[in-house]
Symmetry: C2
Subunit: 282 residues, 2 copies
């Protein structure tokens, strides 16, 4: 049975890191949902916009796999860029879409956790004040609809780079959102807060860069595993990533990657067949 995780929130959950900046993560036992079915995960997982790229879910899943080498994990991408808490209200399109996607996943998997990253679009003192109450209704609604009253919910902080870029004026209140998120996690059962301390952004100063997304995924997994808030970075983050990247591809993965190269026109039919023959003899 696949252990599945629901991805919800806005662009930094969907992921805007540039793929060329980090080693890729590809593991036949890490799946993602498309059209209600599972397939091997590849990035972008959460294709909400043409600019979707590296998010935190891939390294979250790869960290999970280090501790669960004989199990499968599945990611259910439902995050949508630029969305506010109000956009996520119970009964709205985003909420209902997440419920419907999660229900498809429940046909063939057990939901093991909810991953949330959101708040950039609620950066004002007024909205920060209401964040906890609004978010609580959304999560309660989701838990009820999916009948998962106690699965861990991991939520992450906003980056301190937000107030520094060309759009910095819109994000001046980001510390209030971080406060609201942390407070929410500390007062709710089964909810864990993860710090974004030390993480950096793309040139837009809005989106975590690929490397920071990889680190953030490791942090999300650490909070999930320990059922504890992660208020300061762990010392072993880079080591965990190095271990993830050092994994060798299985035969199945090599064949799938070869098929992909052929599908996108990078290999000629003749070469594809001969390389496939070699792989099949491994």
């Amino acid at each position: 049975m696949i252990h599945s995780f629901l991805m919800i929130g806005q662009s930094n959950m969907a992921g805007r890191g540039y793929r060329k900046e980090v080693p890729s993560i590809y593991d036949e036992h890490i799946k993602m949902q498309r059209n209600g079915l599972w397939q091997i995960m590849s990035e972008p997982i959460n294709f909400d916009r043409p600019s979707a790229g590296v998010g935190l879910a891939a390294s979250f899943a790869a960290s999970w796999r280090l501790d669960n080498p004989k199990e499968e994990i599945g990611l259910i991408p439902c995050a949508d860029g630029g969305t506010s808490l109000d956009d996520w209200a119970v009964g709205g399109a985003l909420f209902e879409n997440a419920v419907s996607q999660a229900k498809f996943a429940q046909r063939t998997s057990k939901i093991a956790g909810i991953l949330w990253h959101q708040g950039e679009n609620d950066c004002s003192p007024e909205k920060a004040e209401k964040y906890g109450d609004k978010f609580s209704i959304i999560i309660e609604g989701l838990r009820k609809e999916l009948n998962i009253p106690e699965v861990p919910l991991v939520i992450g902080g906003l980056g301190s780079f937000l107030s520094e870029g060309i759009f910095g004026q819109y994000f001046a209140s980001y510390p209030l959102i971080n406060q609201a998120l942390e407070e929410f996690a500390k007062t709710q059962a089964n909810c864990y807060f993860v710090t974004a301390k030390g993480l950096t952004a793309n040139a837009d100063n809005i989106h975590f860069n690929a490397l920071s997304q990889r680190v953030l995924g490791v942090r999300y997994y650490s909070a999930f595993r320990d059922l504890k808030h992660l208020l300061d970075p762990n010392h072993d983050e880079e080591n965990v990533l190095a271990t993830i990247y050092s994994r060798s591809y299985t035969k199945t993965e090599k064949i799938k990657l070869l098929e992909h190269e052929f599908a996108i026109g990078n290999i000629k039919p003749k070469d594809f067949l001969s390389e496939l023959t070699i792989l099949n003899q491994e």
Copy 2:
């Protein structure tokens, strides 16, 4: 009210054409659904696999827009590569996902048509014989669930290149599928068949190349508009595409495209701001 179209079938409906091989289509009044919401369409529309690319839906929509310059069109991508008719059976994940996505679309649009392309995965005499009966149950189920008993269903033929490539042996029976599809369309109300005559493929001899997908989209629209089977190519296909490509971008489109270039890191913050200022003064 958006006029929406449901995209279902396998990889040649999702699209595997290479984007670099054709001019792009970008029109603020052509939308696509993501996470239950509409956004401006960009390719790949139907991101079922990492190899997803150009499909027929973009030029279908652009042809529709030539005749409906004051209206909006929305695409609902639900096709999934490598799937058989059995995979699309009523109650299965693909069918239910399509129903659920279409229902989200119905909140804010009126479904105006169904676009289907499938059959490569049913290329055997036995499966071809049962194609009509199986397909009829799927379409009937879909029409009932969505309460769209009479909207036009456009279905396209398979390419004659299928039997010629390195996987040609698996597709020897493709003419039987084309026969089944054509017969289905001729005996069902509100269903129109579109020929794939003359269309060509990527090097895999499985997937229509980008140019052929553009042409196929024009053909699908022609059948939809005239409510007639298209058994032979129209003579004006290339002209229609030339007209589509000659359209100038609106100010909104230029700004969105600039924002995308910034989001993917192709433009520095300073240059983004100065180009944005220029566009806003247009």
